[in-house]
Amino acid sequence: MTTDHYIVLSAVLFSLGAFGMLFRRNAIVVFMCVELMLNASNLAFVAFARMHGNLEGQVFAFFTMVVAAAEVVVGLAIIVAIFRTRRSASVDEPSLLRF
């Protein structure tokens, strides 16, 4: 096992998240894709921290988790507010804002 394996895995996870975000239609799933992107980054951070032998990457991973938690609070509040109004969490349906 080298660092490369972890980085490739993390890049794969990140891409899954990034493309999932573009192709899924349920706001909750879209949001989970964003979380996947953040956690893929955490994996890369921790692997690099091990490789470089310092703690900065691990500390960054902790902060990312905290920020992800804060994002969940705000994001779910908004999604729940929309769901209660429209009975749907589809990102396509609310389309009052059009070019």
Binding site: T64, V74, I82, V91, L96, F99
Partner: protein
Amino acid sequence: MNGVVETFASPEIRYGLVAPLLIVLGGGVLGVLLEAFLPRGSRRTAQLVLVGVVLVAAFVAVVRLAGTNDLAAEGTIAVDGPALFMQGSILLVAMVSALLMAERQVDPAGDAFAPQASALPGSADEKAFTQRGWLQTEIWPLFLFSVGGMMMFTSANDLLTMFVALEVMSLPLYLMAGMARRRRLLSQEAAMKYFLLGAYSSGFFVFGAAMLYGFSGTITFPGIVESMAADPGNNGLLIAATGLLFVALLFKVGAVPFHQWTPDVYQGAPTPATAFMAAGVKIAAVGALLRLSYVALGGLRWDWRPLMWAVAIATMLVGAIVALTQTDIKRMLAYSAIANAGFMLIGVLATNQAGLSGTMFYLLAYGFSTLGAFAIVTLVRDPAGEATKLSQWAGLGKTSPLIAGAMAILLLAFAGIPLTSGFTSKFAVFQAGIAGGATPVVIVGVIASAIAAFFYVRVIVLMFFTERAEDAPAVVVPSSLTAVAIGVTVAVTVILGVLPQSVLDLADKASTFIR
């Protein structure tokens, strides 16, 4: 070492240098406590006093620090000329936005925010809350946190601080975007779009930061610069990191092709929040972009400049051309914000001192003009709320020459007509762009300005030389809050156009990053 730390050296925070940040963020915490412990009746007054005191105190702290060139909090916060100039600009636009957000005379039902964001739109609860005259005071702590995040964003000197600042700035804004009193579905939808795309872009930022950390083994900007100097070859990790970080920041700036959220969010969010967002986030995001591209990735500029050329050209052209087709004034202002972001990017890609000072001046001038334009949008109303359809603005100059005149001055500033701040700022960044060897981009910039000028003038013609529309809205007489805000923004727009030298000198003096 045996895992035992023999001596503990406490970190050196240097509170004096981070005082502006601490005042604003501490004010936000205090605001949350006020929200929790004060009875509903006295909250608004308490919050307004708190916000006023905090913003003024933080501005004084910034002014007292003028001329500092130092690092605080163990090198994570840079307190240098650009940081202080942009922190000061953010505080000034925050003061004007606070005036707009506190306004409650233009809407007969109260201020611009929903009385309870949790009440369903159109429900009996919502009507009851409105009848009782409840006002949402929780926006004030959110507002202060966001201002604090913006200030931190411009002075972050490592990737972690920059990421945390990005989130502290954005999370409150997502909520504020969803709290409009009128057209709540539109507002909630804007909040969701802003949130999902914002979270997406912060995902790119974190992954970019991880790649940069993998390359250099450190997250501090000086450390990154050092490791770049040690390994000057093209490293895959470094290229990937640069691309990902620029995607995240260009998203916040609102540059093409990451601009799609801008018109939706600007249109859906409550107009005072839009004004704050348009001015504040632009300053903070371009500030962070400048620091990242000049300081951390400065050694790589020959690699990212072609990319930035393409983005700047696309941003200016798309912003100017799509604005032509808009029928809603808030969406039109959003596309104008996109076009202006493109002009600011000319200052960024110039990568010289003139580019830095020109961009800083541009940000300050543009911040005030855009605040003023959105402030005027809040005043033009029909029974359903703000009359944002452009067709409804026809003939406004005949019934309300003062408001239409103020709008005309601000639009001329966006177009970059001489004797307004827009001309000075465009001239400054174009000059820097040519000096920095980006003449083709500047030529496109001039063409884009000409296209943009066409639709700004079209609005002016619509207001002054067209018959009044059938469903013509009324212009509400605001309280002194909005009146002062409009007066100040128009005055700044004109003064920075006629006598810009002192501010240009200030920006010039402040335009050296600490390294």
